[in-house]
Symmetry: C2
Subunit: 342 residues, 2 copies
DNA sequence: CGAAAAACTTTACTCACGTAAAGATAAACC
DNA sequence: GGTTTATCTTTACGTGAGTAAAGTTTTTCG
């Protein structure tokens, strides 16, 4: 590293002995220049450590290397984890991810997309808020930018969707619980932010009916993203009422289940499968924390790596290829993870 | 909203009947133009929904409105939560935050700072990895950009530091545990990524000695950020060995404590304070999940809101004012949160 | 070795806005 | 109402790179 500070590509071209347009070409794609040229540039790079100015780069490019990742709530470890995997793969593909969280607020969601627009992103990976989302605005955005939706589907919006097969998730747990004990009740938020919740409730009802049991849905009140808190409060109520028809509870997601576990503990109920246990509790999603609850939570795991990989691959397909007329929807199967809570 | 698409400030100036330089002034600070002018612009804004191009804006500005927020590991809810608060306050101050996670990797940390440099950020809020960080590179970055360190202190690096008073944290818990039962052992990772851990161990030893007890530090092996996993594995070992001198364990942070709780549960030990309990477990930091563990975790809470507020205020002070010679270090006191685990 | 192809240099224009300076208008003030 | 002052318009240039076109050099290949 030499002391002279290189500020512009002009200066760097000078010290490297290569013309600026060629240097520019190199930075857009190192393989687009002759090997000898590439080496000369790289020698100079070692010496001077220059980086082209991002703003200037993107100003004229039709397409940037920016990929926006938008999740509804980053303090939810599920989204933090999936965002981490997405970032990794985007970087590996030579693009630059930028991560945003809507913080549960539809206005912020649109605000983010609006701001993203001026980043001229090559594509966007969007996990929308769901029910609360401003569909019209998101749709408008998707017309301008190749967008892949994940986690929450908004029918017809975006060029593709990658998510989980809620029906399979729920069927697996209901059948397992029923087979190994009593049929479960279903525990959910009355007005869930996430459309997966509705699909899961419907899958529960359908499966119970198919098995010849009466479905029993417990819908609790609560707004926002403090699911554990909401789940705990709701569960305290349910346990106080003694309104559970059987000893098994299937929660719409793991965070509600964690709340339920806390309520059961506080109520002095032993949770688990076996002698001396009053209650079985299962969840969905295999949240990163679920294996450390007491007792560890039986749930259905999402394959974060696979989802991230498929999402990113699909998006790059959309970016490179022509826009297809059909809108692919990829649903991943979950895997039942048996732990001691059920 | 009219149909004509406004793409540049030039076009927008035209339809709003105001000259471009004045429009430019407006976007930099709406209060810098006459009220009547402001109103005319805003009427046009309602009609045409125009946003100046960020890249072009920032290219010429000496100082942008960008604020970088860098945390070591976003899938840790502690950092997710504090990042959320920081973002909020940065936005409220009229700046645009961009969030990055180093994902526990010192190379990525430097990569992020490097990339950030070309965003010409007005300032950066950085929670460094700690021990693993490349001090020299970070120091170089801090010379160019006003940077406030938070959570982990790197001596002398950055223009200021905001963190927690580890000594006070530990003293509170040690004294409480001792006063209400037996003096605790200290449970930590042998090679913690985070420098707070070392401060906490030292504070534990000092406090125990002051109180006339022999300190007992349990250092467990493990690398990375899967603290619950590491804590659980380490605790299983400790419990199998029966090497605890007393019935109280103080964990360096809540995530280790959550792992310890899981190990205790699996070992059939009842955790809590009172009749029939074999073990008391306490943590530090009041992680968002700590109130939902079984039993709920006794810990010391960090005031996320206050820390975020102070950090952002301090940074803006640094940005606006002249660089001060002294490097302020603000330490926040924690508040002991008594729950049933200890 | 000579011709064709590939890669490079030079030149010049573009992108969308910041910003400075000079002159024109409007507002404020005595 | 005239003067001062604040604000606006016009003009022009700067930012740092993308990119296109024409001309030159290098490489490839028969």
């Amino acid at each position: 590293m030499t002391d002279r500070k290189i500020r512009t590509m002009e200066e760097f071209a000078e010290v490297s002995g290569i013309s600026r347009p060629t240097v520019s070409k190199y930075f857009n794609d190192p393989d687009s220049v002759r090997k000898t040229t590439r080496e000369r540039i790289e020698v100079a790079l070692e010496q001077y450590h220059f980086r082209p100015n991002i703003f200037a780069m993107n100003q004229n490019r039709k397409l940037t290397k920016n990929i926006g990742i938008v999740v509804p709530y980053l303090a939810d470890p599920f989204f933090a984890e999936i965002a981490r995997h997405l970032e990794e793969r985007v970087i590996a593909a030579g693009y630059q991810p930028t991560l945003y969280s809507s913080h549960g607020d539809p206005k912020q969601e649109i605000e983010i997309l609006d701001g993203l627009l001026s980043l001229k992103p090559a594509g966007v990976l969007l996990a929308p808020l769901g029910r609360a989302s401003d569909r019209a605005e998101i749709e408008k955005f998707c017309r301008d930018v190749p967008t892949l939706l994940f986690d929450s589907n908004l029918d017809g919006i975006g060029q593709a969707f990658v998510g989980s097969d809620n029906f399979s998730f729920v069927t697996q747990t209901v059948e397992y619980l029923t087979r190994t004990g009593e049929p479960p009740s279903f525990f959910e938020m009355r007005t869930p932010a996430n459309p997966n919740a509705n699909k899961r409730r419907n899958a529960y009802i359908a499966t119970m009916e198919r098995l010849g049991y009466e479905p029993h849905v417990i819908s609790i009140d609560g707004e926002g993203w403090a699911f554990e808190e909401i789940g705990k409060r709701g569960a305290m109520q349910v346990l106080a009422d003694k309104s559970l028809p059987t000893n098994a509870v299937l929660c719409s997601n793991d965070r509600l289940a964690i709340g339920f576990l806390a309520a059961a503990y506080q109520s002095g109920l032993r949770v688990g499968h076996g002698e001396g246990c009053a209650l079985r509790i299962a969840g969905h999603d295999d949240h990163p924390w679920s294996q450390f609850t007491c007792p560890p939570l039986t749930t259905v795991s999402q394959d974060y790596t696979a989802i991230a990989e498929r999402s990113v691959d699909l998006l790059f397909g959309l970016i490179e290829g022509a826009r297809t007329e059909d809108r692919p929807e990829i649903l991943f199967d979950g895997k039942l993870v048996l732990r001691s809570s059920a």
